[in-house]
């Protein structure tokens, strides 16, 4: 075991932790510790046991075997409240906020300053302000604002402020950056830096190498419920982490297979003067056969909205959208799918999957969209489902497995597989690798590549510009709803794209 970097006893120490759920071993002999004034990153593929380990630290689960010590005292936490009483708080992926209440109420929730049962609003605001000032560097969040009116990034800051207001000395952040744009990520990094310098201990789960490289003092890598390796500050490089995470799988880009040259000339999609919020002239673009077209932009740049408009979830009155020469601008989603368009939402759990149903149900959802009253071609569909599951390497391989039981990466493969199974030519993919481990990420990019190599086309957005540069044939850069540049990923650097997206370089 690596000793702590910082002097002094660890605040939290886990020794030889085993955790079983109904006889299934999720963690096996895991040692983990956390010191004041350090950031300890916990990384690993989906299903490697990261979240479970952290849940043991903040009192959601008790270990089956092994010990948990806080400030040197060995004890058992029975509830997150026990953990909180000892200064341990968590910010889970699904933020525990009430959208219809104010920021201040959320921060002091459960402990509102009262006199004789009547809330003292001024005290409340003052306390909330104090907590907010520690995380909201720019002072952009007002205590009286409704949480529901804030963006995801600000909501996350509110959750952290809430943990601080509850007196947390130890903070556990579960994939805090997975759904943030580059600006918000940078801001969050700053906040975490500050928490560290105040002597707090921060444990964070992440799948993003850039987070880890930027922040971590120590890294613990989990694989299949065991510690696969540890790194100290000076050894934390993207290659080292990726190597440990995925075993043999490196962070190499997908192989490019060029489609035939004459196919390249065939337009799958052409868009003219499509209005986006904030755009002046509207967006004009086209996608050809055999092409992966990337859409890059900061949060709020309109790339996700563009995909939704193209798919017909939002009505638009101006602009032309042609799909294989059909003018689909006025078509409903159902007809667009029929003409060869498929959309993957950036939020697979809320908008992609029917979680309580099986893999098979979810894969065939678009196929069965018409809702006819005659018998389903069950055997034919089952065969196609088996083929697609094989091709996408979806695990477990049983098509009757419920979607809710799958890891994030496998859930994502199911929503992508829906369009593979339907034989859809044009894929509109909103952040297809969000919250997915390195291995599944490579597989999904490989799948997109294979799809376009067979004559399809794809429009892809991502919050990770590096990833777009690696996986796309052409990249369109958006800034505030405006298409500002087209760049060639082969000769363009991440810095340049970021500068364009941030409006630092005026559009050519």
């Amino acid at each position: 075991m690596t000793g702590p970097v910082h002097s002094g006893e660890p605040v939290v120490q886990l020794d030889g932790i085993d955790k079983e759920f109904a006889g299934v071993r999720v963690l096996q002999g895991v040692d983990f510790d956390l010191c004041a004034g350090e950031v300890h990153a916990l990384v690993g593929a989906n299903g490697s046991g990261k979240s479970t380990l952290m849940q043991i630290v903040y009192g959601v689960h008790s270990p089956t075997r092994g010990t948990l010590s806080i400030n040197g005292e060995q004890l058992r936490l029975r509830h997150p409240k026990d953990a909180l009483r000892r200064g341990i708080a968590a910010v889970p992926q699904e933020l525990p906020l009430v959208a219809s209440l104010s920021v201040a109420e959320n921060i002091c929730f459960g402990d509102l300053p009262c006199r004789a049962g009547i809330v003292r609003w001024r005290d409340l605001d003052r306390r909330a302000d104090a907590a907010l000032s520690q995380v909201d560097v720019e002072g952009a969040i007002h205590p009286r604002q409704l949480v529901g009116s804030l963006g995801l990034a600000s909501q996350q800051l509110v959750s952290i402020a809430r943990a601080l207001a509850q007196g947390a000395r130890v903070l556990i952040l579960d994939e805090p950056t997975s759904s943030l744009g580059p600006e918000a990520v940078a801001r969050l990094h700053e906040v975490i830096d500050r928490l560290r310098s105040e002597g707090r201990a921060v444990a964070f789960i992440s799948q993003r190498l850039d987070d880890i490289v930027a922040l971590a003092d120590r890294v613990t890598v989990l694989r299949d419920g065991r510690v696969a390796g540890r790194l100290l500050r000076e050894d934390v490089t993207p290659e080292a982490v990726a190597y440990l995470m995925a075993g043999a799988v490196g962070a190499t880009g997908p192989e490019r297979v060029d489609a035939k040259a004459d196919d390249r000339n065939m337009e799958v999609l052409s868009v003219e003067g499509l209005p986006l919020p904030g755009s002046v002239s509207g967006v004009t673009l086209s996608v050809h056969c055999g092409e992966v077209l990337g859409l890059a932009g900061l949060a709020g740049s309109g790339t996700s909205e563009l995909l939704r408009v193209l798919y017909g979830t939002v009505r638009h009155h101006k602009g032309a959208v042609r799909l294989f020469q059909h003018d689909v601008a006025k078509w409903p989603i159902r007809r667009r799918i029929g003409a060869g368009m498929g959309y993957l939402s950036g939020n697979r759990q809320a908008e992609g999957l029917v979680l309580g149903q099986t893999i098979e149900f979810n894969l065939t959802l678009a196929l069965n969209r018409r809702g006819r009253l005659w018998p389903l071609p069950r055997r034919r569909q089952a065969r196609r489902v088996a083929e697609v599951m094989e091709q996408l390497n979806i695990r477990p391989r049983d098509p009757k497995t419920l979607a809710v039981a799958l890891s994030g990466g496998n859930q994502q493969k199911v929503v992508v597989g829906r369009w593979l199974l339907a034989g859809t030519r044009l894929w509109l993919l909103d952040d297809p690798t969000r919250g997915v481990d390195v291995h599944a990420r490579a597989e999904i990019h490989g799948l997109i590549r294979q799809h376009v190599a067979q004559g399809g086309g794809a429009l892809v957005t991502s919050s990770d510009i590096h990833e777009l540069l690696e996986s796309c044939d052409r990249l369109l850069v958006f800034s505030r709803g405006q298409l500002v540049a087209q760049v060639d990923p082969a000769v363009t650097g991440e810095d340049e794209v970021l500068a364009l997206a941030g409006g630092l370089i005026p559009a050519a």
């Binding site: 109904a22 908008e351 149903q357 959802l365 809702g371 009253l373 389903l376 009757k400």
Partner: protein, 348 residues
């Protein structure tokens, strides 16, 4: 229905389910257990309660397990069965139809009106069923599916509206409905099967087929499980919602026709409690109030629990006033049992 078997093995299966996702027991026995669990998983609590009730009543009341009594239980509860079929569709789509009982009263009064006008009774029945479907789809369905009104508010409103209209038409009095066709619906046989039971069988088989074997059935589950995901997969959610409330209206009207046949009358207050009772039966049968999961197999068990319970309370000579207490208590117990049983499956 032989329900004792699944319930017995159910206990063992519940522990097998706890062990998943560990490697499943291999071979045909493990596979069979798994399949059985998939089949009865959602309504194990109700199945256990049903078996207990049957055992209890068989051992204490000699008149319970007789052909005549069981036939009577099924006939008496045939409107509940039919209504529960419609309610299952609505609840899988994550809705609820409070107006389904009012639709019974509407259909009876409509039937009476048609017969008054001299419409042949077979035609009148067909028209009433069509009207049930259309009213359900165009009132409840459109409110919920097109205008986005909360299902509780929408169907509470339509229930009040329907009973109001019926009162206006009949001046609040029960009207005599007599026709040869109707009395044969109430008391006739088809191939030795009493007509109400035959209607129930047709409704269950038809509904079961649609839910399980057609792509329309899939869209109902999808809309209930995740409406936005369904929309983005190209499903026309408003059509699905309208159809589902249409089916509920159709089932309500069909139950009304059975009642008119049984009672020989059109009652403006008929069905006033059946919406909630059928909802309880569907819940007992493992269909979630949040939609997306469940099915008619569970609904059969759920309705049978309520039916046998009512019959048992009668046979044991319990006072009418105590019936509600017993029924409510057992319902809550069965639902708690179902929850307890289901807990093992939700841990990762």
């Amino acid at each position: 229905m032989t329900t004792s078997k699944p319930a017995e093995v159910g206990e063992e299966i519940a522990s097998a389910a706890d062990a998943s996702p560990a490697p499943r027991p291999r071979g045909s026995v493990g596979e069979l257990l798994r399949k059985l669990h998939g089949l009865v998983g959602g309504f194990l609590g109700a199945a256990i309660v049903l078996v207990l009730l049957v055992v209890l009543l068989t051992s204490t009341e000699s008149s319970f397990l007789t052909f005549g009594n069981l036939k009577n239980v099924l006939i008496t509860n045939s409107p509940l069965f039919v209504v529960a079929v419609g309610m299952t569709f609505v609840m899988i789509s994550s809705g609820f139809d409070l107006s389904i009982g009012a639709m019974m009263a509407v259909s009876e009064v409509l039937l009476w009106e048609f017969l008054q006008l001299g419409v042949p009774s077979v035609v009148a029945i067909a028209l009433v069923l069509l009207a049930g479907f259309l009213i359900g789809a165009l009132v409840n369905g459109a409110l919920v599916g097109v205008f986005g009104v909360n299902f509780f508010v929408a169907t509470l409103g339509s229930m009040t509206l329907f009973y109001g209209i019926v009162d206006v038409v009949t001046n609040g009095t029960t009207e005599i409905v007599s026709s040869h066709t109707l009395s044969s619906i109430g008391y006739g046989d088809i191939l030795g099967v009493p007509v109400p039971i035959a209607i129930v069988l047709v409704a269950l088989l038809g509904g079961g087929f649609v839910l399980r074997w057609t792509s329309f059935g899939r869209t109902v589950y999808a809309v209930g499980g995740n409406r936005e995901a369904a929309r983005l997969a190209g499903i026309s959610t408003r059509w699905v919602v309208m159809s589902v409330y249409g089916i509920a209206g159709l089932c309500g009207a069909l139950a009304g026709v059975i009642d008119a046949g049984r009672l020989g009358a059109a009652s403006p207050t008929d069905g006033s409690s059946i919406a909630l009772i059928s909802g309880a039966a569907v819940l007992l049968g493992g269909t979630s109030l949040f939609g997306g999961v469940g099915g008619l197999a569970g609904t059969i068990v759920g309705v049978l629990v309520i039916a046998v319970l009512g019959n048992g309370v009668n046979l044991l000579g319990v006072s009418n006033y105590w019936q509600g207490v017993v029924t409510g208590g057992v319902l809550i117990g069965a639902i708690l049992l179902a929850r307890y049983q289901g807990r093992g499956q939700h841990v990762h």
